[in-house]
């Protein structure tokens, strides 16, 4: 009896010791600034989750190697605690709670996807923990009045705005006829709202407005309508499966449309999976390596792409680039705040105005980045069937001329 009591008290002593040591493992330990992130390492977002994590890790390594973060005359290094949110919003919210209240994290990095960011934002807001996120573009994130949420990327409603404007411009300023198909998730529906705005602004008409299911793998019905009604622009957004399904079926059904605009082309590895069939597709992208933005950590986009490839053995998608940018923003804010006080860091973040290799970053009161336009690239193939993404709009960064209208299938 006595022995078991002794044993029990021994165990509880250890438990108490352990728990206190966990609690003291807070925002800044020794010379380390600890950031927390819930990332989708398993589940349906796991490939993009890994892109996000790789982006974060590359930036942490680079910033630490180049002298770390200087606050109050002392140098600190970044460290990140990761948890796997299993691509599940509920789990992500739990993990955010755990990172903050159990692990004592006071600065957060965002998860992958708008849905998960939406799940985490109320938690970070409740605890007043600044979160810089790089992968939640849904407009609804920025209309809730969150004070501690900062996104380095342009909101979803701007993704394909440029495409419509370009189409109108090429049509001599007259409105165009738009066919659109969007998946029913927060992100794609925001892209849709953006198109509706653009259509209204330019006097364009929407003649097909289809919604795609989550389990999408057949959009033949939409494409049959497109064939019949012959719109000027076809817009499709449904993450990678939307992009892959659209290209496959457009090629199989030989659907001729003067302009095809999509999202998630690089994540879907369109040019690799579909080769020449994906030719001429226009894709919205947050970033492209050929853009001429610069910073002292990564140099240019080209240099970033090279370093990334060397470390992770694949070309960085924009999801990685924007994730790396999030850490540059944090570093800059810490140094300007010259403090680890959450409120001060938050104010410093709100006042961010900088250029990174990924683009200019300046936050609107809602938290979205307003200083970085989206770019459009077009898949272009050479005679041997090798395809490449070339930036075609905005004109300032264009590395190739937009091919418009898309040649008919019978002429290819």
């Amino acid at each position: 009896m006595k022995l078991s009591k002794l044993f029990l008290s021994f165990i509880s002593a250890i438990a108490i010791l352990f728990s206190t040591s966990v609690v003291s493992f807070a925002k800044v330990v020794g010379d380390k600034i600890v950031l927390g992130a819930a990332i989708s390492l398993t589940g349906k977002y796991s490939s993009n989750g890994v892109h996000t994590q790789n982006g974060y890790n590359l930036a942490v390594e680079r910033i630490n190697d180049m002298g770390g973060v200087k606050v109050g005359g002392k140098t600190y290094k970044f460290d990140i605690i990761y948890y796997d949110d299993e691509s599940n919003p509920k789990r992500a919210a739990q993990l955010a709670e755990r990172l903050i209240s159990q692990d004592g994290v006071e600065f957060m990095l965002g998860p992958y996807s708008s849905g998960l960011t939406k799940a985490i934002a109320p938690v970070t807001e409740k605890y007043g923990v600044p979160m810089v996120e790089a992968n939640g573009a849904s407009r609804s994130l920025f209309t809730k009045g969150y004070k501690y949420l900062f996104a380095v990327l342009a909101p979803a409603n701007l993704y394909l705005d440029v495409a419509i404007e370009t189409a109108v411009e090429l049509n001599g300023g007259k409105g165009v006829r738009i066919a659109q198909a969007f998946e029913q998730d927060a992100f794609s529906q925001d892209v849709r709202l953006g198109i509706l705005d653009a259509a209204k602004r330019t006097g364009s008409e929407i003649i097909i407005d289809d919604k795609l299911p989550k389990e999408l793998n057949d959009m033949a019905a939409t494409l049959v309508k497109v064939k019949q009604m012959k719109p000027d622009v076809l817009v499709v957004s449904g993450h990678t499966k939307g992009a892959l399904t659209a290209i496959r079926q457009i090629a199989e059904m030989k659907v001729d449309v003067p302009m095809l605009a999509m999202t998630h082309c690089d994540a879907a590895k369109l040019s690799k999976q579909h080769g020449k069939n994906s030719q001429y597709a226009l894709c919205a992208s947050q970033w492209h390596k050929s853009l001429t933005y610069k910073d002292k950590f990564f140099g240019t986009g080209m240099k970033y792409a090279k370093d990334f490839e060397k470390k992770f053995k694949y070309d960085p998608p924009y999801q990685s680039a924007e994730s790396s940018a999030a850490l540059l923003v944090f570093k800059d804010a810490f140094e300007r705040a010259n403090s680890f006080d959450k409120k001060k860091v938050r104010d410093a973040l709100a006042a961010t105005n900088m250029q990174t290799f990924y683009g200019n970053i300046k936050f609107a009161p809602g938290g979205q980045n307003v200083d970085k336009p989206m770019v459009l690239f077009q898949v272009m193939c050479d005679g041997s069937g090798k395809c490449e993404n070339k930036v075609v709009a905005p004109l300032k960064w264009a590395s190739a001329k937009l091919i418009h209208p898309i040649p008919k299938w019978s002429e290819r």
Partner: protein, 297 residues
């Protein structure tokens, strides 16, 4: 609601043909389900996941430079052994328990398969390009991708082969005998354990064929199995067990129904309409059944 599909005859024809080609493929999956449901009284929730796994086999062949159409030969062979393996590990422990236990067990297998496939193959949506081109009908107003025609053709060939095999071969007869009365078959010297394993293997092999065809025609993804399970479940419910022409017909019916739902209600309700139809059919069947019982009283 959009009734465009009825206003243009060409679209109506297109929807019907698309539906029938798709339905034949569904029927193949459903036939596997009907077979093992009839023989072992097990509703296999993991049916769709077996399909997707079969699809990945074809996809990997494609990645290694082999034409994915060969997947319809290779994938069923591999999947047969996967099926027998699952039977030996899990199903033989639940085969004579009640239906609820087997549903739980196969549900568990389904989750396990999803996660394993996600782990092994990644969460990317993938597809295999067959390069089969397109057939144009009616002055190119109706377009049919040859890959869809190919999958319907292969499905029919496999279904016919299976029917002949069930009729003529020793194992086929043993399977049918076990389905009719497992105890009597056992007394007469049929090794029912072996029959069960083979049945589950054949079901998995059919899923393998269907999966390979889906990777050629559509896209595959670790979490895309469930809609295929639901569709085959529904086809079997409508057709009844052991009714092959019924399975084929209700498969095609479902395909056409889905296409029309897609045009009329919109693509977002495509899968939803299948679920709704399933509920309606179950309610109708229950209604019919209860009437019958009263009559018998």
């Amino acid at each position: 609601m959009d009734f465009m599909v009825f206003q243009y005859p060409m679209i109506t024809i297109q929807a019907c043909l698309d539906g029938i080609l798709l339905g034949v493929l569904f029927a193949l999956i459903a036939y596997g389900m009907a077979l093992q449901w009839g023989v072992m009284n097990i509703i296999n929730i993991a049916q769709g996941d077996l399909v997707i796994l079969g699809g990945y086999i074809a996809y990997f062949m494609y990645l290694y430079g082999i034409h994915p159409a060969w997947g319809v030969i290779v994938s069923p062979i591999i999947m047969y052994f996967v099926g027998v393996g699952i039977y030996k590990l899990v199903i033989n422990k639940v085969v004579d328990r009640d239906l609820f236990i087997s549903i739980l067990a196969t549900f568990g297998i389904s989750i396990l398969f999803m996660q394993l496939m996600n782990f092994a193959f990644g969460a990317d949506v993938v597809l295999a390009n067959s390069g089969y081109g397109t057939t144009f009908l009616f002055d190119s107003n109706v377009v049919l991708p040859n890959s869809k025609i190919f999958s319907a053709f292969v499905s029919i060939v496999f279904a016919i082969c299976l029917v002949i095999y069930m009729k003529k071969s020793k194992l086929g007869r043993a399977i049918r005998a076990t389905a009719q009365n497992a105890r009597a078959a056992k007394i007469l010297g049929v090794d029912t354990e072996k029959v069960y394993a083979a049945t589950f293997g054949i079901n998995a092999a059919l899923c393998g064929v269907a999966g390979a065809l889906i990777s050629i025609t559509f896209t595959i993804h670790p979490y895309m199995g469930l809609p295929y399970t639901i569709r085959s479940f529904m086809i079997v419910i409508v057709a009844g067990l052991g009714n092959l022409p019924g399975v084929a017909l209700s498969g095609m019916g479902l395909g056409v129904f889905e296409e029309f739902a897609d045009y009329i209600l919109g693509t977002e309700f495509r899968i939803g309409s299948v679920f709704l139809l399933l509920v309606l059919i179950l309610v109708y069947r229950r209604f019919k059944l209860s009437r019958k019982r009263e009559y018998l009283k």
